[in-house]
Symmetry: none
Subunit: 224 residues, 2 copies
DNA sequence: CAGGTGGGTCACAAGTTGGTAACAGGCTCA
DNA sequence: TGAGCCTGTTACCAACTTGTGACCCACCTG
């Protein structure tokens, strides 16, 4: 496993490098945005630890460039007070963030978690399965366990597909709405309705859902 | 939105074109592999509907060429019995497939789904751990030791996240307020209230806190 | 001792969120 | 044309979240 560490603070960069090496990573470093991109292209790392404050080319731009050209996992380093930039980074496709000061062990733990997540989520069209759910998006049908097929509507099928593609993860209402209706299509009320209708088809007891879980104030998650 | 439709069966191609046009797409057509590539380079479509059986240059080769040079979404049209080719196509980077015969509406739905999927959902940060506390900021849940999960509100979860990220360190009230409510959001009274509420959930004896410690005149600290 | 300050506790109200239900327009298909 | 389904819309209700004011106690200081 190769890690690219990008930080202009040399002291910190050294600490991080040491920790990651001890955790079994090969480490490459860069100290400004432009050389970060060069190292990324040249050495093809498995994960990138990226500080946002960088000379020559700021962290967000680096993040965007890398996301435009590939899907190497990225963890953002930020200092307190940069919350907005962190959010921007996550929206640009970063995989996680960690706030300085942090314990080295924390960083390693997050890095390994991100790598695990990256490997386990190959996005593939066609029939989706998660747990004992098998969804055929082409026919809008879902089969639960070894039971009968359940006929869904198109919207129900899309909703379930999005959730199953991100099985176990929490999706915000907004991102679900984007995925189901497109970026300027639906609203929360329509999603609420759709969830209600889907639950009546796939949950044994729709009023106590065990698969299509509500995360209050955030969104929904699918559990197999 | 521009769609490039590639099929040597003129009748089918016409039906597909008509449907896509009615769905609001601009449509370009090609009837063999070589001209498909030419049209792709010349017109830069947003999505490609690609039949696999093509004269001059077969569909898989077209698929490969396009993937080598760009990332335009591709939907493969196949007839039953060509499953192996479909799999090859998906491995080459096609985004979805649809089996003939299909209803026009289905095709449009899949096309829109693929386009939506192209800009995918934002990802949530992973769990935080400190001592025997494990916090899932996405679900607003915390697990203490091997006990049950405790459901938090959004604000409680943010507060705990900030404190856990700086485990063992003292944070001033002001910096906590900034992190939880944003730079011009909260005041000390709201923080006081929030601490009180969080303590009732995570402390065994809320009136003698051992984790969420008060540093009088300064702020708070989290101890694992 | 009186008064001020910081913090903990409690109760309440407004606002928000999510689940449920019923209905209407539009589309498909016979 | 008419039946039936899908989807969006509105409405209502219950539960929860959050901000606010009030009150208390402990401590410090003059």
């Amino acid at each position: 496993m190769k890690a690219l560490i990008v930080d202009d603070d040399l002291a910190l960069s050294d600490v991080v490098s040491f920790t990651m090496r001890r955790a079994g990573f090969d480490v490459i470093t860069a100290h400004d945005g432009r050389s970060a991109l060069e190292r990324w292209e040249a050495d093809d790392p498995d994960i990138i630890i990226l500080d946002l404050n960088l000379p020559k080319l700021d962290g967000l731009s680096v993040c965007k460039s890398i996301r435009d050209q590939g899907d190497t996992p990225i963890i953002i380093l930020s200092v307190r007070g940069e919350e907005e930039d962190v959010v921007k980074g996550l929206e640009l496709g970063a995989d996680d963030y960690i706030v300085k000061p942090f314990s080295p062990r924390q960083l390693v733990a997050r890095a390994e978690a991100v790598l695990r997540r990256a490997k386990s989520a190959p996005v593939f069209p066609g029939p989706q399965s998660a747990g004992n759910f098998v969804l055929d998006p082409a026919r809008n049908e879902v089969c639960i366990g070894n039971g009968d097929n359940i006929q869904l509507t198109q919207l129900e099928s899309r909703l379930l597909e999005v959730l199953m593609l991100n099985c176990g993860q929490v999706l915000t209402s907004v991102s679900i709405i984007d995925s189901v209706w497109g970026s300027n299509g639906g609203d929360r009320v329509m999603l609420k309705q759709l969830v209600y209708r889907l639950r009546r088809k796939i949950e044994i007891n729709p009023s106590e859902p065990v698969h299509l879980i509500t995360i209050s104030g955030v969104g929904y998650a699918f559990e197999a």
